[in-house]
């Protein structure tokens, strides 16, 4: 019963990842795509958590933290690139 509920929620989660992928492909502007990819990353965190329950292991719990940090840094870098055109600005006195 419990495993069945876990598999049902994995299916729902992958459905929402597919929808995010649709928005990332179709989305009319670049910020739309970045936002869809950020949502996909957040859903992947939940997927890893459910998988670690299904496989009954502690080994994936670092992956949750790591995906969260990487998705955040990627979104920050992309939004700075869209807004200013560069990701890391140069110093002025060069």
């Amino acid at each position: 019963m419990f495993q069945t509920i876990m598999f049902i929620s994995l299916v729902l989660l992958s459905l929402s990842i597919v929808v995010g992928l649709y928005r990332a492909i179709k989305g009319p502007s670049t910020p739309d795509r970045v936002m869809a990819l950020d949502t996909i990353g957040i859903n992947m965190i939940a997927g890893v958590a459910i998988l670690s329950i299904v496989m009954n292991t502690y080994a994936f719990l670092e992956v949750i933290l790591l995906i969260g940090i990487l998705a955040f840094i990627g979104t920050i870098a992309f939004s700075k690139f869209i807004e200013r055109g560069v990701v890391i600005e140069r110093k002025r006195d060069e």
Binding site: G20, D32, M35, D38, N43, I45, E62, F72, S79
Partner: protein, 122 residues
Amino acid sequence: MNASVMSEVIASILILIGTALSLLSAFGLIRLPDLYTRSHAATKSATLGVLCVLLGTFFYFWLAEGFLSIRLLLGIFFVFLTAPVAGHLICRAAYRSKVELTKETVQDDLKEVLEKGEKGRA
């Protein structure tokens, strides 16, 4: 009702709520008209869904196996802290790069302020 059954009940309720919320945010991503409403759907409900799923996992490992995972707590804290910031930054970048609002918009206060600022600079 022993501890492992209780942990399974709590974990399955929280995880079902969380995945239902993230599916709801996916419907918002399909159906809403412009980027700002879509990001309103995507950041809030997906974040709450992930928080529910991680909380369910935390309680499952805690009650069923006595394993108090600090990494999961840190993950909950970090997602709760950073997902709204990422949504804010991407919306700001979209507005600054002049992504159109939807046609049903009735009021846009930031546009006047930005035009006045550019006129003052020129």
